[in-house]
Every structure is written in structure tokens, then in C-alpha cells.
Symmetry: none
């Protein structure tokens, strides 16, 4: 009856289950969409009866919220952990980070974009605020580079969205082992982004146009 030991064990087991619930839900939501996934399916993946899920998450919505919140939090944490080197252009750093992270976490990224509308208003606001924080990192980089003359950006906010949309599209078609390596994709996109914000390009534009 070693009560003192039993409780932590049980708690550990419970946390383990919770993690497996998140993992299963992530895959299912990414594949079929939040609305098309049933708690029964998640429970079956976890190897548990539907009722047991409610010991870990009060509602299906909370599973979605947990997935999206932890994704945004992980994303911001990972960004902070990328090495900052004075010689590297910060835009390069952001673009490479964004592509790498989004290819590694394709499912999380995918549901973070696709399932926004399935968040209840309060949860939506929470997630959106995190997303803005992330996007503002790029906006800051663009504004600073623009002010220093390294970039030519007409509207940092619009450019932020343009770049992020462009980069975030990659996981929708990239397949490991395909024609291009991840490194090649990084290089290709980095080149396009650099040029898109390059200051001298305006002149060349006139020459072409």
C-alpha cells in the first residue's frame, strides 16, 4: 500500500497518456481536419476508451488548443535558440530557420494554419497573439534592415506576410527524397527572398520593365 509512491507513478502514467493523446490528435487533425476527427478515433489510436480522454482534456476543443499553443510556444522558443551570429544577415537566419522548422514540424504547422477557424473565439485570440509575435520578428528584421538601407521594403507588414506565405507553402509540396534536397530548397527560397527585398533591384526593375 505504499501510497506515497503510487500517486506519482499514476500521475506519470497519466501524463504519458496525455502526450499520446496529443500525438494521435496531431496526426489525425493534420490528415483529416479537426471537424472530421472523432474522439473515438483518437482514443482508438491511443489504445484507450473514449471516456478516458476526458481525464486528460476536458473537451475536444482543448486538445486542439493545446496542440496549437504548444506549437506556437515551441516555435518561439526554437527561434530564440537559433544561434545569432553578427556576420549572418538576420533575414537569412529567419528564412533558414522558418523553412527548417516548418519542414520538421509539418503536421503542427499545417493544423496551425488550417484549424484556426475551428478555435473558439477565446482560444483563437490567444493563438493569434502568439502568431503575431512570431510574425513581428520578421517585421522587425525587415524594418531594421530597411532603415539601415540593407533592404528596400515598401511596407514591412505586407512584406512579412508575403514572405511567410511563400515559405509556409513549402511543406504542402515538399516530399523528402524528392527532386530537391532541403538544403537546395532553402537556397532557392533564400535567393528569392533576398532579391525581393534587395535595394538595388528597383533600378533593374526599371531596366526590365
Amino acid at each position: 500500500m505504499t501510497i506515497g509512491v503510487e500517486k506519482p507513478l499514476s500521475r506519470a502514467k497519466g501524463q504519458e497518456t496525455a502526450k499520446r493523446v496529443l500525438r494521435a490528435a496531431l496526426k489525425r487533425f493534420a490528415d483529416a481536419g479537426y471537424a472530421a476527427v472523432s474522439m473515438r478515433e483518437i482514443a482508438a489510436d491511443v489504445g484507450v476508451r473514449p471516456g478516458a480522454l476526458y481525464n486528460h482534456f476536458p473537451t475536444k476543443q482543448d486538445i486542439l488548443r493545446a496542440l496549437m499553443l504548444s506549437h506556437m510556444s515551441d516555435l518561439l522558443t526554437a527561434w530564440k535558440k537559433t544561434e545569432f551570429s553578427p556576420e549572418t544577415d538576420p533575414l537569412d537566419r529567419f528564412v533558414r530557420f522558418h523553412i527548417r522548422y516548418h519542414l520538421e514540424r509539418a503536421d503542427e504547422v499545417f493544423i496551425s494554419y488550417m484549424e484556426l477557424r475551428n478555435l473558439e473565439p477565446a482560444n483563437f485570440a490567444e493563438i493569434e497573439s502568439e502568431r503575431s509575435r512570431y510574425e513581428f520578428i520578421l517585421t522587425g528584421i525587415l524594418e531594421e534592415g530597411s532603415a539601415s538601407g540593407r533592404y528596400a521594403v515598401d511596407d514591412a507588414s505586407v512584406t512579412t506576410r508575403a514572405i511567410i506565405a511563400m515559405l509556409t507553402g513549402i511543406p504542402t509540396w515538399y516530399r523528402e527524397g524528392g527532386r530537391l534536397s532541403e538544403q537546395q530548397i532553402e537556397d532557392l527560397y533564400l535567393t528569392m527572398v533576398r532579391k525581393a527585398v534587395a535595394p538595388l533591384a528597383m533600378k533593374s526593375q526599371r531596366e526590365i520593365g
Copy 2:
């Protein structure tokens, strides 16, 4: 009296109902997602009982299919109708067309990207083939411009996806009457795209790098 042209009233009424079903479904699917919309809701929007929907579409899936197919078809038709002028760079033509069309038909565009996974395999293949045809228009422009030296594009296929992702992201945040007019957005994005594929930009890149 135009007797020869007259159709039975009931048939005309039925076609009108079918159109209203599509209209209602489009709005609902765009707002809540295919899986989260019920036939009952669509019927209520149309002002008809649920069973009546099945006089016009055999299944819910067929409504989605009809929406997506007609969107792709309209898109390709609209592109063919854009005026071709020898003085205009074809990339400009494509970018402006794409932005305008996608802002005008935000709902159609949105479900065409979001609901792909809710298409049954056969329908998915059909839609994907239409989408490829559209994307290939841009790829062709890029390849031709690249060959003639007007653009510098390392991989026309990747660049196509990058540009389309960038442009297609616009309707997710653009709101009529917001800070920027549609014209301004067109100009901003066009500038970015031009620069991203500009041949001289490579030099500036070296200068910045």
C-alpha cells in the same frame, strides 16, 4: 411569346435552386469548413427542406466537387479572357490577374485550398489536374522569360509555387476598406515578384551578402 425557347417552369425553378444551393454551400464551407457544415444548414439557407437538396446533388460531396470544379474552370476561363498586350510583361499580367481574381472570389479560392483533403480520391485527381494546368501557365511564363534573359529563375517550378503561395495568401488578411487599397496591394506584390525574379538582382545580392 418565344415559345421555342421556353422551358417548363419547374425545370427553370430547379436550376435556380441548384444555383442557390451552390451559393449557400460556398459561403458555409468557406466559413466553417466542409466537414462542419450540415446539409440541413445548406437547406435552411436555400429555404428548402433537406431532402430537396438531393434533387439537385446526389451527395454532399458532389456539392463540394461542383464548387471546386467550376472554380477551376472559371479561373482558367477568366485567365484566357485577360487582355494580352505586347507591351505588358506577361508576369505582370499574371500577377495582377491572380491577385484581382483571388480577391474577387475569396470564398471559392479559400475552399479550393482548404477542402482538397475532403475530396474523394477521384474528385481530388480531377481538381488537382485543373490546378496544375493553372500553375503551369505561370511556370511557362517564367521559363520563357528566363530563356530570353528577362528573368533569372533557378527553378521555374519552385518559383511558381513560391509566387502562387505568396499571392494566394493575400485574401487571408486583406479586408476591403483597410489600410491598403487593392491597387496598392497589387503594386506592392508586383514589385516583390519582379524583384524576386529580376536578373540584375544577383549583383545587388553580392553587394549586400
Copy 3:
């Protein structure tokens, strides 16, 4: 505008359709059961839209009623038409007639037994009365033969039911081209029936039992 001619033609066409409705319903009811058959299926078989059925039969129930009534009527008519010969035992005549008719009209017979419970009370009474008339033919034969000493029947009413159940079971397993010809089956069953009602059999019974 030969009105006088047109109407009969139209009526003829209508009667033709009505017949095809009955034919289609007969097959469907026999295969799947009244409750499992939809008016749409019948209409499709006939090559007509569901609404058109209601020009010929006011309800689905009326189709069933028409099928069963005409079956009973045809059955009684056919019996009356069988040749009566003084040399033939009337039981032989009945048994052979019953088997032949029931093998020829397997579908009609089948639904006449299976769908009794799907008849509305008034229709049920009507059909049951016809069925009794038919069964009473056999009862009469048995009673008369019993009175004259040709048969030994303890309870003509029970024997009637026993014989009819036995004979009516044939179409559930008989398949044309099977091991036994229709003639052989007739002979086998006739032998069994004759023996079952034979007066001397009681003795043999004592000898065996």
C-alpha cells in the same frame, strides 16, 4: 385532332404501364420483400419517374394488394380450368395442379405467403378470404374422400394445412435444371400425399410402430 382515337390510345398506354409496374413490383417484392422495396426502384425498373406510378396506383400498398388479389383470382380461375376426369382421383388432380401452378408462378406464390403481414387489415381480410376458398377446395376433396372411405383423414382441416404447407414449400428449394425434374417432384410428392391419407396405412403403422 382525332380526339376520339387519341383517348383510347392514351388509355392503352396507361394500362401497359400499369402492367409493367405490377411486373416490376412482383420481382422486387419477391426478391427483397415489400418493406425493403422503394417506389423509386419500381419506377426505375419501369423506366418512369416515381411520381408517374401514382397515375396507376394510389399507394404502394395498392400495388401489393393488386398483386395478391390477382394472384388469388388467377389461382382459383386456373383450378377451375383444370380438366376434370372421372377416372382421376381428385386428390391427384389437386396435388399436381398445386405443384405445377406454384412452380410456374413462384414469385406470386412467394409474396402471397410472405407479405400477408404487410397488408393493411382490410386488404388482409380480402386476401385471406380468397385463400380460404382455395384451401377449402382441398378440404372438400378430403372430406368427400374420407366419407367415401377412399381416404382416412382424422381432421380434414389440419390435413389440408399439412398438405398445402408441404407442397408450397417446393418452390423454396426447387431449381429448374436441378437433380429432379418437375415431373419427378410431382410424383414424389403425390406418393407421399396419397400415403399420408391412405386408409390402409394405419394397419402398416401398427405393424411398424
Copy 4:
């Protein structure tokens, strides 16, 4: 306290519910036919909401299957339990058993004959194989008796069907408290069956015919 035997209360309750579902479905299917009975009706009989039925049976079809399988199984088990006495003719034993059992379990018997066509193919095959086993008991008796000269049977397989059809028809008209007791019916049918297979009857037949 019998701890080792105790089951969770909920499990016991569930099994009880399952039994009541079968009981309710049996009555309903026997009265109206499988196709005409709704899950809602069964649920109402059981005193439960429709969805709860699916905790016990995955589909409506499975209820039918369970009813028919357990009927066939019970029937075969009951036959094996009938006392075998060397003095009793085995045909007598079978006839009396069949009549008694079929009058006691009129509903089960009825749906076992009526609802065969509503079984999905796999289930149909399963049931048919059980039915054959039962019918083969009688065929075996007839063949053995025929070989030993106690019976005269031209075709044991046909005779089996004839006898079973005859006997199985009884519950369609027998009503408790009617003109005849169950015992009287048994005797009447037994007499007919004995005579139908009696060896000496052939002679009497010649005398009559």
C-alpha cells in the same frame, strides 16, 4: 462476498440490456419483419435511447444475425438433449421434438424462415449451414430407416423437405386454446408422417389409385 465472481455492475447491466434488445427485436421482427422495424422502436421497447443500442450491437443486421444464430444453436442443442429411447421410433422422436420446439419458439422459428433474405451474404451462409445440419438429422433418420426396411422413402432429401415444411407450417395457424391441443396436433401430424413414409402403404396405394 464472492469477490472472485463479481463483475462490475455496469458490465452486468450491459449484458442485461443486450438481452432485452434481442428480446424486443425478436418480437418486432416477428410481427412486422426486419425491414419494417426501426432501431428507434427497439430502443423504445428496451427503454433506452437509440444510440445506446450501438453499445451492444454494431448494426441492425448484427441483431438479426445474433437472433438467428442463437436460434439455430439452441435448436441443435435442444435436439441433442431430447431423450433417446430404443423403443421409440427415431422419426417419432424427431416429429414430436420439432413440433414442440417450434410451437414453443414460434417467433424465433418465424424469423428464421422469413428473414433469410435480409441476411447479408456472409451471415446467410453461416445460418444456412446450421439449418442444413438440422435438416440432415431428419435425412439421416429417413435413410437409416429406409435401409432397414422400416420406412419406404424414394428420396430422403425431398422427403426431409416435405416433412419439415409440413411441420413448420403449424405455428402459422396454431393458437393456444384453440380447437386442438398441442398433443392432438402432435398426434395428427405424427400419423400423417408415419403413413407418408410407411412401407406397406404402397400396396394400399395400388388398391386405391
